[in-house]
Amino acid sequence: MLDLLARLGHNGLKKLEAFGSAGIILMQSLIARPQPATMLPLVIKQIHFVGVLSLIIIVVSGLFIGMVLGLQGYTILVDYGSEQAVGQMVALSLVRELAPVVTALLFAGRAGSALTAEIGLMKATEQLSSLEMIGVDPLRRIVAPRLWAGFICLPVLATIFSLVGIFGGALVGIEWLGIYEGSFWSNMQNSVDFSEDILNGLIKAVVFGFVVTWIAVFQGYDCVPTSEGISDATTKTVVYASLSVLALDFVLTALMFGDL
């Protein structure tokens, strides 16, 4: 029993320590003298890697989720004779919740795990040490551009996700199920508020982008540099990032829409 307690405390302390070093890594890589000349090409490269290459998966999943929402919303709302509210339902659920959350989850699986593996492999092949010995801080050279790219990409991806999803919903609702087009769009426009809904959704996406990239980069940087360690770190990235996104989503929703 005492042993169990001791192990619990030990694990707790280790988690706390990891959290602390993650914070230090974050601070050191972001609070650096900005050097736009060297930084910009690196950030662009990373945006290409985590953003542009994630575009297809985002567009496809956005389209399908929007279509499913349209279909489900219609079958429920048609019973109450208010099927023209499908547009409003699709748009609100996408913009407020599904776009930031699903994008963040896909991002964690697609780009986050790749980031972890890449940085972990750099550590295993001594590239990080080698940077240090050349006199370059790997936090600034490797970690910082990836963090910035994650920051920038997730809101962009979430916005595209929303838009594609809404058009997917419109396609199903208007073209296939025959909801009157005018009321579909006007209902949507009446209920969706730019700052209340769209901007809040964007803020969520920024926060998620930050958290997911932070976890991914930290897991890569902190991993045991063996093949087992890297695979372990990649799994952890996806699990921790997904859990953090879902938990944070609740907190943010409560803050933004919950009148707390």
Binding site: G51, S162, D193, L202
Partner: protein, 151 residues
């Protein structure tokens, strides 16, 4: 050359994000960029019922503005409602009346404006003098019951 392709790709990606945001703003939230600004007017109500910030302000059913602030006026002990009215609607006479209405039976509360007859118009910072509070269902039922009993 490979770098160029990469940069163009990233540029197009960011541009797509911006365009998507713009389309969301215009098509989905109906954000109107053409609005030529707003002016503020105020009204005091005995009871605002369920009126909230960002509630609509309409005239003859046409949207002309929104509620921007609600607070308690400590001197008059009444609710003070601040509204932003679109600059296009600059013909609200000073004796216009405002009332808090309900959309449908149980729908959201909004403010309805009925124009008056004066030649002088409301300016930024002016007050609606003629206000009608929200109908509160409980009061209504209470009054009805009281009348029944007293008869």
């Amino acid at each position: 050359m490979r770098i160029r392709v990469l940069e163009i790709g990233v540029g197009a990606f960011l541009l797509m994000g911006l365009v998507a945001l713009l389309m969301l703003a215009v098509n989905v939230s109906g954000l109107n960029f053409e609005s030529k600004g707003t002016y503020r007017v105020y009204a005091r109500f005995e009871n605002i019922g369920g009126l909230t910030e960002r509630s609509k302000v309409t005239m003859s059913g046409v949207l002309i503005g929104q509620v921007t602030d609600i607070r308690l006026d400590s001197d008059a002990l009444q609710a003070l409602v601040e509204m932003e009215i679109s600059k296009d609607v600059d013909f609200l006479s000073i004796d216009s009346s405002v009332s808090i209405l309900t959309a449908g039976l149980l729908g959201e509360k909004y403010i309805g404006v009925v124009a008056g007859a004066e030649e002088e118009f409301l300016q930024d910072g002016d007050f609606f003098e003629d206000t009608q509070s929200a109908l509160v269902l409980e009061d209504l039922i209470g009054k009805f019951l009281f009348n029944e009993v007293s008869e």
